[in-house]
């Protein structure tokens, strides 16, 4: 018996039909940290190769989006909590971009990487995590865009101590984007419909989130419904930190955090469940 025990412990790898579902296996992920960084590098470098404007695209896309939305809310005269419209929109767009690209790109994990997954083993979570990180880099670059506007409008804004909480805001967004993204990617293995759904689903989510309008615009009786969206307090908190205007409460942030954690755990569990055998169905 004892002998058998010892022998069993010697095996460094045991492949079995289903691994325990609560097996997060973070240590293995850590061993592959170099791979995560290299994927980040690949994503980052390869996107703008053979484009004339190169990394400038990081700026152009949010600038265009901001221009369009600013014109739109100027026409329909959406109040922006006394924040200059362009700055109001830009903060929203930059932040939303991060969430939406995290979500859409991670939701494609299995289908988009089937050719690699079919050949080599590495922890599959490496891919979505690298997406989160490389998007974070674009987010930082896009944040640079904010600087000239912040300087220009420095009289109209009042940054608060919550600036220190911005990393936390980003973490929440990353967790929700990753959690939902890998959940969707696990489901798209069987239901391809979801990959079509996600494209305009993200659009709809944006309108349900105070990105191009302030939460304060929502009439009081609908506010509780609006607050159900865990993204709302996050966006509002970001604006409050940076510009001094925003509607959020501690409870709302707690709610968002809980939501993010639960979503991420469910996402990882689903992801782990399918990663072993998805190659047979895809």
């Amino acid at each position: 018996m004892v002998q058998a025990e010892i022998n069993k412990n010697e095996w460094t790898q045991v492949i079995e039909p289903t691994e325990g579902i609560f097996n997060f296996n973070l240590r293995e992920l850590w061993r592959y940290r170099d791979l995560i960084l290299l994927f980040v590098r690949r994503d980052f470098i390869s996107v703008y190769k053979q484009t004339i404007l190169g990394p400038l695209w990081h700026f152009l896309q949010p600038l265009f989006a901001t221009a369009v939305y600013t014109i739109f809310i100027s026409i329909v005269k959406v109040p922006t909590d006394e924040i200059p419209r362009i700055l109001f929109i830009l903060t929203g767009v930059v932040l939303w971009n991060y969430f939406s690209s995290c979500l859409t790109k991670t939701s494609n994990t299995f289908i988009g990487n089937a050719h690699i997954f079919g050949k080599v083993y590495f922890p599959r979570l490496v891919i979505p995590i690298s997406v989160i990180v490389s998007n974070l880099m674009s987010f930082f670059i896009q944040c640079l865009l904010l600087i000239p506007f912040l300087i220009y409008y420095h009289n109209n804004i009042h940054p608060t101590i919550y600036l220190l909480a911005i990393p936390f805001v980003i973490l929440l967004l990353a967790m929700m984007g990753l959690g939902l993204g890998i959940l969707v990617s696990s489901l798209t293995i069987k239901y391809r419909d979801l990959s079509y759904l996600i494209a305009f689903g993200v659009q709809l989510m944006m309108y349900a989130t105070p990105v191009i309008y302030p939460l304060s615009l929502i009439p009081a009786r609908f506010k509780s419904i609006a607050m159900l969206n865990p993204l709302s307090p996050v966006v509002e908190m970001f604006r409050y930190a940076l510009l001094g205007r925003g509607t959020f409460s501690l409870e709302a942030i707690l709610y968002s955090s809980t939501f993010a954690i639960v979503l991420l755990v469910i996402g990882i569990l689903m992801f782990r469940r399918v990663e072993n055998s998805f190659m047979d169905t895809i």
Partner: protein, 414 residues
């Protein structure tokens, strides 16, 4: 020596046809029915999860591999080789059973996995190395060696999309070859590159197993490569582990079970032909010095045939053409004139040893009158395979694409 891979009762079952129903609604319906114990509403009466709806790619396969061993995996297409390797390399999970391993495992299921066309050779070496499980320091340490081995040093900072396909593959293989896993899985990668490069690869593989004592699982259809590299082999037939043992025996067994060879055939009369004057009825291959129906380069063998003549005093010739399995004619040989009486008769043609190289061959036999009028032509009447024997030669030599291998007299003097 200790066991580094232990495969226990591994089976892999694939569901055929549609996976799920494709829509969420009907799947929920189905799951709900299962939970409540009702019959699946989406299954037709005559349609159920029976044997027809599933494909068993592997059935109860168990074997062990010792450290430092080079194990060949032999089997026809569809025998389950790739499935087995996929399970071992963790690309997919087994349906039942377990695999236990010691040490890092790396597969060369296909070289160049994850190469990004826009990145330079240098960047791809790091990326590919990491995908295969190397740390960045490891790649950095071996970087020069990898570049040397691939022979693309000049283009190392060029995006790989500008590489020729040969350069691409060489670079990819170079990375893979410098992995230092305890267990290496190699699947037919040797089909790539020119013969020089192949030689390099085989040398590298041999190095890895001889010097470093690593374990290799090698899958190939090339019996020559298998025999020279492997110590032992497992033979898969239709998903079952048919046999395991020393490589020589397994190769013989494989050739034996390989039904593609036609060593005996009775020829059906053809209806469309005009009233026949004579026809072939039977052909087979026979040899006194072959065992287990294995013909090697060193064996002579006879092509025997029976024919039937429907007239008296018909002057007949037999003409035999030997072709490679790809259809290339190698030689033709014609018999002397034989004046046949009405009735059956038989004949043979001896193919000497040291004439055909290893490989697969087919035979056409033509029955003709007076060396001029064809009476009966049977195409590909027999198919046979000749096995390689290597004696005191480096195995790879330069024998890959030659159809004949005669022994010639050499004279070298000062």
């Amino acid at each position: 020596m200790s066991t580094v891979i232990k495969v226990e009762n591994v089976s892999k079952v694939y569901q055929l046809g549609k996976v799920g129903t494709g829509t969420l609604a009907s799947d929920i319906q189905r799951t709900f029915a299962r939970i409540t114990g009702k019959e699946d509403p989406l299954l037709r009466v005559n349609e159920s999860y029976d044997e027809k709806a599933i494909h068993v790619a592997l059935r109860d396969v168990s074997f062990e591999v010792k450290q430092g061993e080079v194990l060949g995996v032999i089997g026809k297409n569809g025998a389950g080789k790739s499935t087995l390797l996929k399970i071992l390399s963790r690309v997919t999970a087994p349906s039942t059973g377990s695999v236990k391993m010691k040490g890092r495992i790396a597969s060369l299921l296909e070289v160049g996995t994850g190469f990004h066309p826009e990145l330079s050779g240098r960047e791809n070496i790091f990326l590919n190395g990491a995908i295969l499980g190397m740390s960045r320091d490891e790649v950095r340490r071996k970087f020069d060696e990898i570049v040397d081995f691939s022979g693309v040093a000049k283009f190392i900072d060029t995006p790989v999309k500008r590489y020729s396909s040969g350069m691409y593959v060489r670079l990819a293989f170079a990375v893979a070859a410098h992995l230092e896993p305890e267990i290496l899985i190699v699947d037919e990668v040797l089909a790539v590159g020119d013969s020089d490069f192949q030689k390099k690869c085989m040398g590298k593989m041999q190095d890895v197993s001889d010097k470093d004592g690593r374990t290799i699982l090698f899958v190939s259809h090339n019996m020559a490569a298998l025999s020279s590299l492997c110590h032992r082999a497992i033979l898969l037939v239709n998903g079952n582990l048919d046999a395991q043992g020393p490589i020589g025996e397994m190769v013989k067994k494989y050739v034996h079970v390989n039904a593609d060879n036609v060593l005996y055939r009775e020829i059906e009369p053809e209806k469309t032909q005009d009233p026949q004057r004579a026809r072939l009825t039977k052909a087979w291959i026979e040899s006194t010095d072959i065992e287990d129906k294995i013909i090697t380069i060193n064996n002579s063998f006879e092509v025997k045939f029976e024919a039937e003549c429907f007239e008296d005093d018909l002057p007949l010739n037999f003409s035999m053409t030997v072709r490679s399995v790809l259809g290339q004619a190698i030689f033709n040989s014609t018999s002397d004139l034989y004046v046949a009486k009405k009735g059956k008769f038989s004949g043979s043609c001896k193919i000497p040893e040291n004439l055909l190289n290893y490989g697969k061959f087919t035979i056409n036999i033509l029955l003709a009158k007076d060396k001029s009028t064809p009476l009966h032509l049977v195409r590909e009447v027999l198919t046979f395979e000749i096995q390689d024997v290597r004696e005191n030669e480096t195995w790879f030599g330069d024998t890959s694409h030659q159809l004949i291998k005669p022994k010639l007299a050499w004279d070298i003097s000062a």
